[in-house]
């Protein structure tokens, strides 16, 4: 006996196996990201007044990424439609676009990560705080492009949105004056922690989705000749995963970038 309903729909549920399977999996993913969003809300609500960052992330880049991902969701749908109508060439084109868009998303994300990685907050021995992007450093000195603020005005570093202009000058510091130097990595504060974790996990899902769609675009597309109905279903199912990844970003973007 062979496993039924791999391509055809079961009459009472109206679903073929993989479709039910992917929706079940997506349900578990909703709980996964839901837990992370709950953690975000809790950490934010629990943060002391004035110490939750605003404006640390580039809204422009975030918007570009949002549009890239939305477009890729559309090309994914169109790839599936192309399969449905039997247009193999169009399917190849659309999913190639999906993959390229996904890669661009990851490139933009890497640039954003890099930006945080070279952004340093330096506590000086005299109590002031220097903050900016690292230009160069050696054993003696550290040069950043940023500003120095008095120690008691640390909140200026958090709410960037409310400050009309933020001065950016080249500042050279002597290492002997530096008490502590830390970049805007995950350990810097809970915002960067949750930002890197959530976008990192999301990026891992993008990579996973790319691998699956890439496989189906490449070696897996052999199934088109043998069983195009089943292949179309695979495109649909992987497309649903991809749309879910887009859905997560639709919430990630406003939550992290805009609020």
């Amino acid at each position: 006996m062979e496993i039924p309903y791999t391509s055809s729909a079961r009459p009472d549920t109206g679903l073929y196996n993989a479709k039910l399977g992917i929706w079940l999996f997506l349900a578990s993913e909703v709980m996964l990201f839901g837990a992370l969003f709950s953690a975000y809300v809790l950490l934010r609500v629990g943060a002391p007044e004035g110490f939750w960052p605003h404006g640390w992330l580039s809204v422009t880049l975030g918007t570009v990424n949002t549009l890239i991902l939305a477009l890729s969701a559309i090309t994914t749908l169109l790839a599936w439609v192309a399969c449905k109508v039997g247009d193999y060439r169009k399917f190849k084109i659309f999913h190639a676009c999906t993959l390229l868009l996904a890669l661009s998303f990851l490139c933009v994300k890497s640039y954003e990560y890099h930006d945080k990685w070279i952004h340093y907050e330096i506590h000086l021995k005299d109590g002031r705080i220097a903050d900016g992007h690292l230009e160069e450093q050696d054993d003696q000195t550290v040069t950043i492009m940023g500003r120095i603020i008095p120690g008691d005005q640390e909140q200026l570093l958090y709410d960037l949105r409310s400050q009309k202009t933020i001065p950016r000058d080249e500042i050279k510091l002597d290492r002997s004056n530096i008490l502590k130097m830390e970049n805007y990595g995950p350990r810097h504060n809970t915002f960067t922690a949750i930002y890197f974790t959530m976008t990192g996990l999301h990026a891992l899902h993008i990579i996973g989705g790319c691998l699956v769609i890439g496989f189906l675009w490449g070696p897996g597309s052999r199934m088109w000749k043998k069983d195009h109905e089943r292949f179309t279903n695979r495109i649909e199912v992987s497309g649903l995963f991809w749309h879910f990844v887009d859905l997560v970003w639709i919430f990630l973007f406003p939550v992290l970038y805009l609020t």
Binding site: M1, E2, P4, Y5, N17, L32, A35, L42, P186, R187
Partner: protein, 631 residues
């Protein structure tokens, strides 16, 4: 009105490739029977036994691994009980070996507090995630569920294989953690922050990585089970004709699917805390070893607890529901009558599954909760006891008027009922915050949950092993040694755990490596409310009972392996004369299970139907005037 199966046109009478060429299923990439045609080459040993995609092989793989892990977890417990009864004394026989293998933490054969803590944490983790869940859900579920619903295999056989291998890897990671410098995880199976992040060992990180692998395995398994039960039921197998075991596994799978991911998320966050030095769960101002920790702070230890227990509580229903399913099957079969209250059972198990998601904070009454939220969780906790009691009651009432056969599986199933009753009833005071404030983290809790899982679930699982063994191997397990195993286990389980209720009520706290010697009247005479000698002395009593319990498992282990070659051969494919579908297959079932797709027209428990020729009618027997309507 006769029942028909018209809504499902039989999709395939006998396997032919005539006009279904393009529906060739690629899942079966190794040999399977096609009405006698063996078109594919015989698979190698690795494909057949290690990388199999057949649900029965995977079920047995899970079963054997789980039993091994349970034995290991049991061993950890014996070592702990030794330390509790004889604090700071070298372990007899195994002491030198421990020292050799583990080094400093077991110097002179004495279990140090750090080692005790790691044994405690790993005993819990291994028993729950590597022992009971894989055995109850993955092993029995994988083997039996497709057979019971008339399916050829699971919906996604390769995902099934992947899920086993993820489980295996997770187990390897957990075991390896014992041998790294610093040792295994030591912060309890609950891995509370900030302790879990500040302990100077990488064992916690290993634990988290192991947990992520195990959770992934469970998630893949859950998707498979749910899809299989929804999509692959044979024609005529309506929802209300499913054996209760399938319902139990269905709800269990849903719980795993939706409750595990928050723990995976939390595990990821705690891993970030451990490795990337974030402060998700570390509060501002945390001091470690008298010094301010170099962290950003701003985190919340309570957040970990909420995310952990969001899984943690549904997890205990994952532990118990499959066992309840097994017990139901065994009782029905050995009373020769249908289960009492099938509909109540089904609705109760669905209700339990749903409610289990909103009771979790009853594990957190001690965290300074406000009255309103505590009241909410007390209410849901009390309510969830209702469907649990309904299930137990239905199983009890099913015995009434039955023609009871007292074979080994039935003995275990019968013992399950009062044992789970004790476990469940002792949970009631724990569900009420005022009583829990006193009893929390005492031995009362240990006794409560062990009663539910040990003489509860594990007895159910033993019943399952004895019951389905003939189907898997074609031989019966030895009945005499089965009864020896049962009676010894039953007696010694109770001797081990019953005294712990008393110890807990008297105030003995858990996770104390010296067996509460520091709080004993002997150590601090004259202090108020110390533990009297009688309570401390119980530790010796419990240790010997635990050793005896271990010895009682030896006949079982021997029986399992010896009976494969020497057990009494079954006289038929259905030695227990059961109605459910798994017994209507050849022994053992071939790849693909059913030569012809079963057509179902009956309920699952047609025993002793008045006017029928025999006292049982298999579920796939053709419909006739005496068939029960689909209810």
């Amino acid at each position: 009105m006769e029942n028909t199966v018209k809504q499902f046109p039989p999709f395939r009478e006998a396997p032919t490739h005539a006009d279904h060429g393009h529906e060739h299923d690629e899942h079966h990439d190794h040999a399977h029977d096609h009405a006698g045609h063996d078109e594919h080459h015989e698979p190698g040993w690795f494909s057949k036994y290690v990388f199999s995609t057949d649900h029965k092989v995977i079920g047995i793989q899970y079963g054997l691994m789980a039993l091994l892990f349970m034995l290991f977890g049991f061993g950890l417990m014996i070592l702990m009980r030794w330390q509790i009864a004889n604090p700071a004394k070298p372990v007899p026989f195994l002491g030198p070996l421990l020292e050799k293998v583990l080094g400093q933490v077991a110097s002179h054969g004495v279990i140090s507090p750090e080692l005790y803590n790691s044994f405690g944490a790993m005993h819990g983790t291994i028993m729950v995630f590597l022992g009971v869940v894989p055995l109850a859900f993955a092993a029995f579920g994988n083997y039996v569920v497709p057979l019971m619903i008339g399916a050829p295999d699971m919906t996604f056989p390769r995902v099934n294989m992947a899920s086993f291998h993820a489980f295996f890897l997770g187990g390897v990671v957990m075991l390896v953690s014992f041998f790294i410098p610093g040792g295994a995880a030591q912060a309890g199976w609950t891995s509370y922050s900030p302790l879990a992040t500040t302990i100077p060992t990488n064992g916690q990180a290993f634990w988290l990585v192991g947990m992520v692998l195990l959770i992934t395995s469970s998630l893949l398994g859950a998707v498979n089970f749910i899809a299989t039960i929804i999509q692959l039921r044979a024609p005529g197998m309506t929802w209300m004709r499913l054996p209760f075991f399938v319902w139990a596994q269905f709800v269990t799978a849903f719980i795993l699917l939706l409750a595990f991911p928050p723990l995976e998320a939390a595990g990821l966050l705690q891993l970030m805390d451990n490795v990337a030095h974030t402060s998700f769960f570390l509060p501002t101002g945390l001091a470690v070893g008298g010094r301010l920790a170099d962290i950003s702070g701003g985190g919340s230890p309570l957040l970990w607890q909420h995310l952990f227990w969001f899984l943690g509580h549904p997890e205990v229903y994952v532990l118990i529901l499959p066992a309840m399913g097994i017990v139901c099957e065994v009782i029905v079969n050995n009373t020769r009558k249908p289960v009492w209250g099938y509909k109540s059972l089904v609705y109760s198990v669905l209700f339990v599954g749903f409610l289990s998601f909103i009771v979790w904070a009853h594990h957190m009454y001690m965290t300074g909760m406000g009255q309103k939220i505590a009241t909410f969780f007390q209410a849901t906790t009390m309510i969830i006891s209702i469907p649990s009691v309904i299930i137990l009651t239905c199983l009890f009432i099913s015995l009434w008027g039955g023609s009871i056969r007292f074979n080994t599986p039935m003995l275990f199933a019968l013992a399950f009922l009062p044992m789970f009753g004790i476990g469940g009833l002792t949970g009631l005071p724990l569900g009420l915050a005022p009583a829990d404030l006193y009893l929390h983290d005492t031995y009362y809790i240990i006794a409560h949950f062990h009663y539910v899982v040990a003489p509860g679930t594990i007895f159910g699982l033993f019943a399952g092993v004895y019951y389905w063994y003939p189907k898997m191997t074609g031989r019966m397990m030895n009945e005499f040694w089965g009864r020896v195993h049962f009676w010894c286990s039953f007696v010694f389980m109770n001797i081990v755990f019953m005294p712990m209720f008393l110890q807990g009520i008297k105030g003995m706290l858990r996770r104390m490596s010296d067996g509460a010697a520091n709080y004993s009247a002997a150590r601090v005479p004259g202090a108020i409310d110390t533990l009297p000698d009688s309570i401390i002395h119980l530790n010796h009593f419990i240790l010997w009972a635990a050793v005896a319990l271990g010895v009682a498992q030896i006949p079982f282990i021997i029986n399992v392996f010896w009976s494969i070659g020497h057990g009494e051969k079954v006289a038929s494919d259905n030695p227990w004369k059961s109605t459910t579908l798994e017994w209507q297959t050849p022994t053992p079932p071939p790849h693909g299970n059913f030569k012809v797709e079963p057509q179902i027209a009956r309920g699952p428990y047609e025993y002793s139907v008045p006017g029928a020729a025999t006292d049982f009618t298999p579920q796939n027997a053709p419909a006739d005037k005496k068939a029960t309507a689909a209810h």
